[in-house]
């Protein structure tokens, strides 16, 4: 019986640690873009190393949580929902890591005209991901506050879409750069928008889980 209590405590701390990784990854994402845009490539490389460690830690924690939930037969009615939630959350962190690595590999030249908008887009995306991590924690800890927090995710996701559209219009209508460069910049803008879209997917799942958990 005591070992069962210990197992429950361990898995609670693992879930908290998992969402800490996502939160930290989110902060690294914004700092990484800021370092790249301002030209601090050394610090940018460090951020990439950090995001790789965080993503790997999150993957390991997710696997441990999955196996413990099944082995100890915990949360039988909510297990599949929780595993889906963890998978989608992991998806967001994977996208952040992939974005920063692609940024390092492709090394796009971001014109000065859109640098501030890029920073604004990354800030809104960071707020969106932050809201989803907070909502996911609420699902486990403070279920009644969950519904109040979900609307923030939708709000920031819309903001990201607006800014993303603005950047793309500027790129194709105003900037006098090569088409290949325009395409590359559009690709990176879409990629950042996809991060906020994945956070919105998590919000949709959390909305259904909130209804299911209502006793």
């Amino acid at each position: 019986m005591l070992s069962f209590f210990r197992t429950v405590r361990n898995i609670i701390s693992q879930i908290d640690e998992y969402y800490n990784c996502i939160d930290q990854g989110n902060l690294v994402f914004e700092e990484g873009i800021s370092c790249y845009i301002t030209g601090n490539y050394n610090i940018f490389s460090e951020k990439i190393k950090k995001i790789e460690i965080l993503e790997s830690t999150a993957d390991n924690l997710r696997r441990m949580i999955d196996s413990t939930l099944y082995e100890k037969s915990l949360l039988p009615q909510h297990r599949s929902d929780i595993l889906r939630l963890l998978d989608l959350s992991d998806n967001t962190l994977n996208m952040i890591k992939a974005f920063l690595i692609n940024l390092e590999i492709e090394h796009p030249d971001i014109p000065d005209d859109i640098k501030s908008l890029f920073l604004e887009l990354s800030a809104k995306t960071k707020l969106c991901v932050e809201a989803f991590a907070c909502s996911a924690r609420s699902y486990f800890r403070d279920f009644n506050a969950l519904k109040e927090k979900l609307h923030r995710i939708y709000f920031y996701e819309k903001e990201c879409d607006v800014i993303g559209l603005k950047i793309k219009k500027l790129i194709f209508n105003t900037l006098h750069i090569e088409l290949s460069q325009k395409s590359q910049l559009r690709y990176f803008v879409n990629y950042i928008e996809n991060i906020s879209d994945s956070a919105e997917d998590v919000a949709d799942v959390l909305a259904i889980l909130a209804i299911k958990r209502d006793v």
Binding site: I12, L74, L75, F143, V215
Partner: protein, 406 residues
């Protein structure tokens, strides 16, 4: 020989255990919160405990309805109730063991000419209505309280799961205890007045005759739980409404409280002590208590998902079950009495026996050679009454030297 007559009661107990255990641990086992082995072991142990410790309350009320005073009669009554339950289950009709046994006892009263105590019958019928209503009320109160506490405490989902797991085990054990305490009357109630067993003293505890019967009946119920309840537990249908683990806990708790309330003599004594009216101690249907609890929660949530047709089926069962049991017992008693030549009532004793000893007039006095008075005279006793029970001749004697001298 006694054991042979007890078989019908044991079969009734076994089928009660096989069917009703799913009311207690069905949701917990079905949702994999509790393993079947744990559930069966706890149910078996607590059913026996409840039967022995508190089985007498509900049994007394059934005995007031009709005191079956011959073992063959008790056998037939229990067998008829068991057949009723079997037939109605076979045709997927809702059936309650409690209602079947009541119908069978009334049938015995009609066959033997014993009067039916209508105040006891009224109490019993009233509890058939009260049982699901009380269960609904308790489930509503428990649900609101639980919701309020979860909102206030804000436990982690995993901590809540842990709490539910432990609570399902505790409440399930309480439910098994209440089931034993309340429903053992259905299984062994008719035998209590028909069989007289001497008390057994184990030093720390002693078991009276009725308690020994309850123990045997409890073991029969437990064997039904262990051998046949797995299938019903695993496939416990959410036939009325989908239940979450939290709702399952509340439903089982409401059901257990209702069964306990209708079988606890200690609770009754407490109520009498504080000046409140007594609660009739009557065996009630475990299934109908569960149905009442589920409907209570369903109504609180808007009543959209409830299959109200099941209510109609329950009411139909209240009428059809006792009637069918009564008809079966009338035929069975006639068969047992006239074909097998068994006495189904104490009034029958002597009728079927070729050689009867009528001693009231023939032997008036008995000389007791073992006692001597102060004057070294023998003590004499006079027979004032005789009674034949279970192949034993019981003679009531009084010491009346003056009467004898005359």
């Amino acid at each position: 020989m006694i054991f042979l007559f007890l078989t019908s009661g044991l079969f009734l107990g076994w089928s009660l255990g096989a069917n009703d255990a799913s009311n207690i641990f069905g949701s917990a086992v079905g949702s994999k919160m509790v393993s079947f082995i744990k559930a069966a072991a706890l149910s078996a142990a607590f059913v026996i405990l409840g039967s022995v410790a508190q089985g007498s309350g509900a049994t007394e009320t059934l005995s007031k309805l009709g005191a079956v005073d011959a073992i063959a009669g008790a056998f037939t009554v229990a067998l008829s109730a068991a057949l009723t339950v079997f037939l109605m289950t076979k045709y997927a009709l809702p059936v309650s063991t409690s209602q079947a046994i009541v119908g069978a006892i009334i049938g015995w009263n009609l066959y033997t000419g014993n009067p039916t105590d209508f105040s006891s019958l009224w109490k019993i019928v009233l509890t058939w209505f009260l049982c699901p209503l009380l269960s609904a009320l308790f489930s509503i109160i428990s649900y609101l309280l639980f919701k309020y506490l979860v909102k206030k405490i804000k436990p982690h989902l995993l901590s809540l799961d842990n709490f539910l797991r432990i609570s399902l085990i505790v409440v399930g054990s309480f439910g098994a205890y209440s089931l034993g305490a309340n429903n053992i009357a259905n299984v062994m109630g008719v035998f209590v007045t028909a069989i007289s067993l001497p008390s057994i003293d184990f030093g720390i505890i002693s078991l009276s005759g009725p308690q020994q019967l309850f123990l045997v009946g409890g073991i029969a119920i437990s064997s039904g739980i262990i051998t046949y309840s797995k299938k019903t537990m695993m496939t416990v249908g959410n036939s009325i409404m989908e239940l979450s683990s939290e709702m399952a806990l509340i439903v089982v708790l409401a059901h257990s409280i209702v069964l306990f309330v209708f079988s606890s003599s200690s609770l009754n004594n407490l109520l009498t002590y504080i000046g409140l009216p007594n609660i009739p101690m009557v065996p009630v249907s475990s299934t109908q208590a569960i149905v009442g609890a589920i409907i209570g929660i369903g109504l609180l949530k808007g009543g959209r998902d409830i299959k109200f047709s099941i209510l109609g089926e329950i009411v139909l069962g209240w009428v059809s079950t006792p009637v069918i049991a009564c008809i079966i017992v009338l035929f069975s008693l006639f068969f047992v009495n006239n074909v097998f030549k068994q006495n189904v009532s104490a009034k029958d004793f002597g009728k079927n026996q070729k050689n009867t000893l009528n001693i009231n007039n023939q032997i008036d006095t008995f000389k007791n050679k073992n006692t001597e008075t102060e004057n070294n005279e023998n003590t004499y006793y006079k027979a004032i009454d005789t009674f034949h029970k279970n192949d034993t001749l019981i003679i009531t004697l009084i010491k009346n030297k003056n009467e004898i001298d005359k």
